[in-house]
């Protein structure tokens, strides 16, 4: 795996973290709903901004 792909994967997983973790923080009253919505929106950009460069690229299904 080249370094670029590794970096992209780390960024993507951060995006997934920004999608899931805020909901847990909201559940345990550590953040407000408005913050949850903001973090999850950032997660959208981080995930799609990075995952499109490595998921399903150069591989055919059938």
């Amino acid at each position: 795996m080249n370094v670029m792909k590794l970096v992209l994967k780390i960024i993507s997983y951060t995006g997934l973290g920004l999608t899931l973790i805020p909901s847990i923080l909201f559940l345990i009253d550590k953040i407000e709903l408005s913050q949850l919505k903001l973090y999850m929106l950032i997660g959208v950009f981080v995930w799609f901004g990075s995952a499109v460069f490595w998921i399903g690229k150069g591989r055919s299904k059938k």
Binding site: G15, L16, T19, L20, P22, S23, I24, F26, L27, D29, L33, L36, K37, L38, M40, L41, G43, V44, W47, F48, A51, V52, I55, G56, K57, K61, K62
Partner: protein
């Protein structure tokens, strides 16, 4: 157009997979896990979990019934569909043609295409519920069957047109985008459910369980909705993809499997999409009701709890799953017009899909539609099963249409239409709900096909 001409053109259309899949084209387990994980976290999952809540499913019914139903679905794929798929290694089209003949396969494809258009329509409608949010469109409500506002009609037409246009320009790129979206979409479901619990004054697991019993899956249906029991959940969950497993559509997919055990790969789609995602969407809906947010459309519900990310998820979930469905509809529809180019067929399929999406009934009665969709295609799965395992054992000819050179196997045709008629009578006259008709229809299909084949094959030989 003469039957021979249609058959020739159809055969050309499916030419690329006329032969059984060769050893070098077989796919690994990871491929099947990916396909199931991606295709079963769809836009419609947002609606199904919500409808279970609306139908008054209790918490035990949901958790236990969903578990049993999903296990039955996985076992159906693993023990019924995949063993035949890996031995014959033909697509459904060619396999069925050998048994039923080209004319019956033609009819089957048209019916299948229409079902795919309706299914894609439900997904377009799901997307439209999110697209309409910034424009304050009046959303359909639980008991709406017809378009309820001009805004809804305009939104659906625009969404349908965009989805069709993108599908015409490139299925492949959107299929890749769907693959990128899948893990994120699943986490949005889970995150929205967790956040929803956070809005319901829950401080411990025991409190959550109490809230789940009383406020989420209360066991009391909403106004205008029928009461669902655990049996409803088991049968619906088992048969939500009946067309694929018992109906044998996934012969086309699993013919690429190295081993029949790959049928168990369906578990990932079932338990992520048809268990966790349904439970999540139920929690999201119930939490919205708990907080006096009275919307029945997935877009506003997701937007309410997780903001723009939720609305984007609803759009993408509907869009990315409508895309392959539209592709399949186009492929199946091409039987009616083999000379037409793919873009033209996709356009027709897209128009049918968009018209279907205008009717909120497709979303609000999605449980019934999904059950009917599976039921309509089930008898042909029985025919394939009986032909593969049982016909040779009772001394009859397997792949009868191919072996005798006939265009329409009446034994298969009467089995299909006769059982659908019987199902209709059972439903309309005797009041048996559509959710429970699948298994008896499938089993009766096997018996009927064997019985009719015995008469039909002897009669054809005597007449010949």
């Amino acid at each position: 157009m003469k039957t021979a001409t249609i058959t020739k053109k159809l055969d050309q259309l499916y030419e690329f997979d006329r032969e059984p899949v060769g050893q070098k084209n077989l796919q690994g387990l990871g491929n099947f896990l990916g396909i199931f994980a991606g295709e079963h976290v769809a836009g419609t999952e947002f609606v199904i979990g919500m409808l279970f809540v609306a139908h008054g499913v209790s918490v035990v019914d949901m958790l236990v019934g969903g578990l049993i139903g999903n296990i039955l679905a996985v076992l159906s794929w693993a023990f019924i569909t995949t063993p035949i798929a890996v031995k014959v290694r033909l697509s459904l089209y060619w396999h069925l043609k050998k048994i039923a003949g080209p004319v019956l396969v033609f009819i089957y494809n048209i019916v299948n295409a229409l079902m795919f258009c309706f299914l894609a329509g439900a997904m377009v409608a799901v997307s439209a519920t999110a697209v309409g949010i910034p424009f304050h469109i009046q959303m359909p409500e639980l008991n709406d069957l017809y378009p309820n506002s001009v805004g809804w009609v305009v939104t659906v037409i625009i969404v349908g047109a965009v989805i069709t246009a993108v599908a015409i320009m490139g299925f492949e790129s959107l299929a890749r985008f769907a693959k990128v979206s899948a893990p994120w979409m699943f986490l949005i479901f889970v995150a929205a459910a967790i956040a929803s619990i956070g809005t319901m004054d829950v401080n411990s697991f025991s409190e959550f369980w109490d809230i789940a019993k009383i406020k989420i899956w209360s066991g009391i249906p909403l106004d205008g909705q029928s009461k669902f029991t655990m049996w409803h959940v088991i049968f619906f969950t088992w048969l939500a993809n009946a067309a694929m497993h018992l109906g044998m559509s996934d012969l086309s997919l699993f013919r690429y499997a190295k081993k029949w055990q790959y049928g168990f790969a369906s578990a990932i789609g079932m338990f992520l999409g048809h268990y966790v995602a349904w439970i999540s969407s139920g929690i999201i809906y119930a939490a919205a009701l708990y907080n006096n947010f009275f919307f029945d459309a997935p877009g506003p519900l997701a937007y309410n709890i997780v903001g723009i990310a939720g609305a984007v998820c609803v759009v993408i979930a509907g869009w990315t799953t409508a895309n392959p469905t539209l592709y399949r509809a186009g492929l199946a529809l091409q039987v009616a017009s083999p000379n037409w180019s793919r873009w033209r067929v996709t356009l027709i399929a897209g128009m049918l899909t968009t018209v279907a999406a205008l009717f909120p009934a497709l979303v609000m009665k999605l449980l019934e539609f999904v059950a009917i969709y599976g039921l309509i295609l089930l008898p042909m799965g029985s025919v394939i099963f009986a032909d593969y395992y049982l016909i040779p054992k009772i001394g009859l000819t397997q792949y009868y249409a191919e072996n005798r050179g006939i265009n329409f196997n009446w034994a298969a045709g009467i089995t299909w239409f006769g059982l659908l008629l019987l199902a209709l009578v059972m439903n309309r006259v005797f009041g048996v709900e559509v959710f429970f008709l699948g298994p008896p229809v499938w089993i009766l299909g096997i018996v009927t096909y064997l019985f009719l084949s015995r008469i039909y094959q002897r009669r054809t030989i005597i007449l010949a």
